[in-house]
Symmetry: none
Subunit: 277 residues, 2 copies
DNA sequence: TCTCGAATAGAATAAATATTCCATTCCGTC
DNA sequence: GACGGAATGGAATATTTATTCTATTCGAGA
């Protein structure tokens, strides 16, 4: 057995060693390393059997991993996590408070503000979302022969994420970014649906595109931040999501949650019930 | 033995029951109650023997205490504390599977899942963030004459959002997307910093670019999801953020909160203390 | 101070959990 | 395609941990 003359005795040492050995690991042991790297926190309260199962390996393999890390076995490795846990238990509220108090405009304080804002935004989304309107949006998108996605400036990350998610699910999608200043509005054909994302002050290009699509008779699904947004005039199916701001900035936590849920719901619907054309 | 028809199933219920029975307890059992009241957090990671010793009683006495609390024994009591802890990293894969099998995959349910995942991710970010590493990242970026942003596929929305935020604050930025399949690595000059975002399985292009930058001697700040990401070999300042997943999908709530906080902190620093060149 | 039921300590046992061992598989090399 | 070493799975074993049991102590009330 490996002498544990070099057993990591702190989280930093643990991390260092993990990086060190990660390169030269065979398949199963690499699975252990990856799982541990992504779920360090579970170690304190789990048994080898549980961790091994989650990592998709045998308990014995997991123990060999612990030994490669320099410990005599799992128990010894777990100890450093339990010790650490005992020290930093304070719950979320306390933790946020701690981050906040680390100096007025320190990065950690700012992060705490944005995390709080994200949490609050998600909460208000839960209260405000109209389940029926959401269902209608899913219907419309699931029935589309092609989904056009439009969103610029602050909405662009959302548009890009939606494009990514649809792509992963093999759903035909066109992302209307402004690359090469090409206007691809003529790719909007009958039976297509436009998924537009825009927040006040509404981006002219996005509204223009939506207006064009509406005039051609295409259905529009909008993710926006107010009920009186310009999309309303276009008979769009509107999903309202408002983000709490921190100073002049807003994160996109709630919007992204809504976006991914919408995409996955559409994907699920289409796999059980493919669109006509 | 006490039937556990009334075993507390939440921390609140536990607390309530503890207060209820505390009054009418004989000496040793009272010691248990007092110790537990003062060290509730230790239960998740301790053995009966440890707790009993700390409370100054025999293990058997401690178990009798657990039974008075309404549990069948120590293990059952410990479970609610471990579950509570694990709640921050729930196994959404199985939950979504349950939803599927129960036929309830309505869009609203899915949205609820993603909102919950977002909330949990933000909480775990609060617990995991290393304030000092974050401060180092801000230092590095605030001192950069140019910030290069790299992030593809799932990380691309994050990269786009960062580019948007920096742009709004007049901070010189280049977003290394793959438009036109142009490789713009030669725009990375001395004094520049690369801000790379990538999650497992790590995108080759992003890692390549980071490797190149590292070889040229540029500082790298990474937003990634595991301690053993490839960025560690590049001596990057690494910010770890792990998102809870729903089935095969992950939202980006925590990542986006971190990204915007980072950007705003850099902006604030630069306005009070502009970079040399 | 005696009696009796409740409370307790500690040993004995049961159960869960970690670890080792070995037969089999996998993979690179000749 | 045969060989050999590394890696793996899974059963067997060892260890730790939880729980039960029983003899003893304690303390209130007569």
């Amino acid at each position: 057995m490996k002498k544990n003359d070099k057993a990591p005795d702190s989280l930093e040492a643990f991390q260092k060693r993990l990086v060190e050995i990660s390169d030269s690991l065979p398949k199963r042991l690499r699975q252990c390393a990856d799982y541990v790297a992504a779920n360090t926190d579970k170690i304190a309260i789990s048994t080898v059997a549980e961790l091994a199962a989650n990592a998709g390996v045998q308990p014995s393999a997991f123990i060999r991993f612990c030994q490669l890390m320099g410990f005599s076995g799992y128990s010894e490795m777990q100890r450093i996590f339990r010790d650490d846990y005992a020290q930093r238990w304070p719950d979320y509220a306390t933790r946020i408070a701690n981050l906040r108090s680390s100096g007025d405009d320190s990065p950690a304080t700012l992060l705490a503000e944005f995390m709080e804002a994200g949490r609050a935004s998600i909460e208000s989304l839960a209260n405000e979302i109209d389940a029926e309107e959401l269902a209608r949006a899913v219907d419309a998108l699931a029935g589309a022969s092609m989904i056009h996605i439009a969103g610029l400036s602050r909405a662009f990350p959302v548009a890009a994420y939606l494009a990514y998610a649809f792509e992963k699910m093999d759903i035909p999608t066109i992302l209307h970014d402004k690359t090469g200043n090409l206007d691809r509005r003529h790719s909007i054909l009958p039976g297509n649906v436009l998924l537009a994302i825009s927040f006040a002050p509404y981006t002219r290009e996005t509204i223009d595109l939506a207006t064009y699509a509406h005039e051609k008779g295409n259905r529009i699904v909008a993710i926006t931040d107010a009920l009186n947004s310009p999309f309303h005039r276009l008979e769009a199916i509107s999903l309202k999501v408002s983000e709490v701001d921190v100073g002049a900035f807003r994160a996109l936590s709630a919007t992204l949650s809504l976006a991914i849920a919408l995409a996955v719901a559409v994907g699920a619907r289409r796999s059980s019930d493919p669109p006509g054309k």
